[in-house]
Amino acid sequence: MTSKHPQCLAIEADLVATAAGEATPEAADRVRAHVDGCRPCAEELGRYRAIEDVVGRIRTARRAEADEPRVRERLAARLADLRRRLMTYGVFPSPLGHILLARTEDGVSLVQYLGSGRDPRDCRLGRAMGPDAIEDDAALEAFYRELLAYLEGRRTHLEWPLDLRLARSEFHRDVLRVTAGIPYGAVRSYAGIACDIGKPTAARAVAQALRWNPLPIVVPCHRVVGSSGALVGYAGDKLGLKAQLLAVEGVSTAPGTRVPRDAMYVTLPGENFYCLPSCAWIPTAEQPQRLVFFGSRGRAEAAGLVPCGDCRPDLHPLAS
């Protein structure tokens, strides 16, 4: 390579910019003045322009994209798959500590108590969202507002589309579906749920399924208690939360963390009336473990039930 005159070296950047049509007017003037008196640089400018021209033609040349539609099709399939898998989540403050809410295209898929922390990966089901989960509070905001109203007793129903994909088995999903049907302000036993899904001896398995409930509160596993009325367990070791949630719904718990079944109104799933616990038919009920207990007449009637014509709980209400 021959060595260049310092002036030619100094003008090189402007010369390249001029060839590309990117030079400032001043730079273009400098180049013009220089190449008028410098033949090698004039040729150089011509070569750079020729390069720009070839590159410009490469840019505008039509590429035969025979593969593009097929590539696009495969991309669309992968995007659809990602969409189906993807969870969007938000972490929100609540009277019960931070709560993680997540959803998929199909519905709400996860509600978890995070306590004082905010990291969803700190809870096992939070990790189950997978590495692709996207944090997007705005996408969950509406659900959060309803949940908050619910926790503050201003709302008695959460009519959310649910996605039970994080349940561990079809049995777990069955348990969750039956549990979702327990009315606001009522409690049932684990054994009752087991009866309802046709596995009357599976009370312990029901308790396990609810222990792994990915949607506590909205699938109200807090409304499921032991046959004796004992609260038994909740979300690991959060028995206090269970009592708190029941209290919001008007079900009081005795100091021994027990629901006072003997001081609650009673019905059976499928019946349209509710009774006093002393009603004559109750001891003769075929599957007593299926009984449903209400903390108040108001809640029973809100669930669509009418007072029993025999024991007349409307005339002889329980002492509250």
């Binding site: 390579m1 090189e12 950047a13 390249v16 910019a17 590309a20 190449v35 004039a42 150089e44 400018l45 011509g46 070569r47 750079y48 322009r49 020729a50 390069i51 720009e52 021209d53 070839v54 590159v55 410009g56 033609r57 490469i58 840019r59 040349a61 039509r62 590429r63 035969a64 994209e65 025979a66 593969d67 593009e68 590539v71 696009r72 495969r74 991309l75 669309a76 992968r78 995007l79 990602l82 969409r83 993807l86 969007t88 692709d132 996207i134 997007d136 705005a138 996408a139």
Partner: protein, 173 residues
């Protein structure tokens, strides 16, 4: 914010072309362009409304390509390069076309051999017409550095064409 499908329709062909050019292998270009859009989908909702979506997609594609090059380099293969399918055509006459194709071949070879930043900056600027500032965002450098990369790329291309006849330009001095 427009639906993600629109963004795919509008930008996928170009991003795919970009990656075909950079990888020079159809299968890799497809993998990387898919990954570009899958990543984009995950991040799309958190993108500000006034973001330059096109530049953003180029930045994702560039990053993926860079990582890809790094992992490729680690693999140390000595296989012959298989060119990506797809030819570009130009409406020049046979002789002009021959000279154009020859020059073009030389330029593409030189570009393929450029250091990563020079090559990327050159392709983004000259083939995809991105602003220097956007190129800087893709390469994590200033607009001025991006401009310098393109300048150095052009100088190298120019030198690689020493002694080679160039097609007559349509631009007159």
């Amino acid at each position: 914010m427009e639906p993600f499908e629109t963004l795919v329709t509008v930008h996928h062909p170009e991003i795919h072309r970009y990656l075909v050019r950079m990888t020079r292998r159809a299968a890799e270009a497809e993998d990387l362009s898919q990954e570009t859009f899958l990543r984009a989908y995950r991040a799309y909702r958190s993108l500000p409304d006034d973001a330059n979506v096109r530049a953003w997609l180029f930045a994702i594609a560039t990053n993926l390509f860079r990582n890809h090059v790094r992992s490729e380099r680690r693999r140390v293969t000595a296989h012959a390069e298989v060119r990506a399918r797809g030819h570009e055509t130009d409406g020049q006459g046979p002789e002009g076309e021959m000279l154009f194709n020859e020059t073009r071949g030389l330029i593409e070879e030189t570009v393929a051999g450029l250091p990563f930043k020079q090559r990327t900056a050159f392709v983004l600027r000259k083939i995809h017409d991105l602003e220097y500032e956007m190129i800087g965002r893709s390469l994590d450098c200033t607009a001025e550095s991006a401009r310098a990369h393109v300048f150095h790329a052009l100088k190298k291309i120019r030198h690689s064409l020493n002694g080679h006849e160039l097609p007559v330009t349509e631009v007159t001095r």
